[in-house]
């Protein structure tokens, strides 16, 4: 499976990091939440985060949880401070105008598995 295919399906804009160098094999799972402590509860790596929360804390949370790919939904735009921290932590960012629900639907039908 190719990251390109996912990017196309959710009409995403890669805004930080070399997303295309990531392999979908490294992302068996996806988890969606706007509440960061729910994300910090996850123990499984190989997970991408789908969220409508778009601030520095989204990135910090991914840093602590070892999440390497974040899909920011609902047309929210990342700012420079988010880019800076994401780069330092090797985290890739995708922005899309789709809702969290739609992104999850696309990912699910593409074979990305849920965690619970």
């Amino acid at each position: 499976m190719l990251m390109n295919e996912i990017i196309k399906r959710i009409e995403a804009r890669p805004v930080c990091g070399d997303v295309c160098s990531l392999r979908t094999d490294d992302f068996e799972f996806a988890f969606a939440s706007d509440l960061m402590s729910d994300v910090l509860r996850l123990t499984y790596e190989k997970t991408m985060l789908v969220t409508g929360l778009c601030n520095v804390q989204t990135i910090r949370t991914a840093e602590m949880a070892e999440i390497k790919l974040i899909i920011i939904c609902r047309g929210k735009k990342c700012d420079d401070q988010m880019f800076k921290i994401a780069k330092e932590c090797d985290i890739c960012l995708l922005e899309t105008n789709y809702s969290v629900y739609r992104v999850c639907g696309e990912l699910y039908s593409y074979g990305i598995k849920p965690l619970y």
């Binding site: 960061m36 729910d38 910090l40 520095v56 910090r60 070892e66």
Partner: protein, 136 residues
């Protein structure tokens, strides 16, 4: 190795910086990644709680050969019923804290899950003291 941080209440733009510094220090010391994750998730939750719920506080981290100790102390409203606060889903987070992505009521349970030792003491109206140990 010892680290000291001052934490400012309500300042979400720098919240997590202390935990990030500790993460880098642990990586440099080649600590097992699974342990690093437990340590930084517990510390980050404690750091965010100071920012989200208290006026200001301090974090002291001691990285020793066999364990990492974290002392998180704050001045603020304190917690009236610590046992209740430990319950998954219990949260008094304000709307502005929720807008920053916190308030699931999962922070203290997450600390407990990741820590080998977690002691928390609070005096209402004064502040909260947490001591977290994770063995290496």
């Amino acid at each position: 190795m010892e680290f000291l941080f001052e934490i400012e209440g309500a300042n979400f733009s720098v919240a997590g910086n202390a935990s990030s510094t500790i993460k880098r220090a642990l990586k440099q010391r080649d600590v097992d990644p699974a342990k690093i994750k437990r340590i930084v998730v517990a510390l980050f939750e404690a750091e965010i709680n100071v920012v989200a719920h208290a006026d200001h506080g301090t974090i002291r981290v001691l990285i020793e050969d066999h364990q990492v100790q974290m002392f998180v102390k704050d001045f603020g409203p304190g917690i009236e019923d610590v046992k209740e606060a430990m319950r998954e889903g219990y949260s008094t987070a304000s709307n502005s804290v929720r807008e920053m992505g916190f308030g699931a009521g999962m922070g203290l349970p997450n600390i407990k899950r990741n820590a080998d030792v977690f002691e928390i003491e609070s005096i209402k109206g004064l502040g909260t003291n947490a001591h977290i140990i994770i063995y290496l």
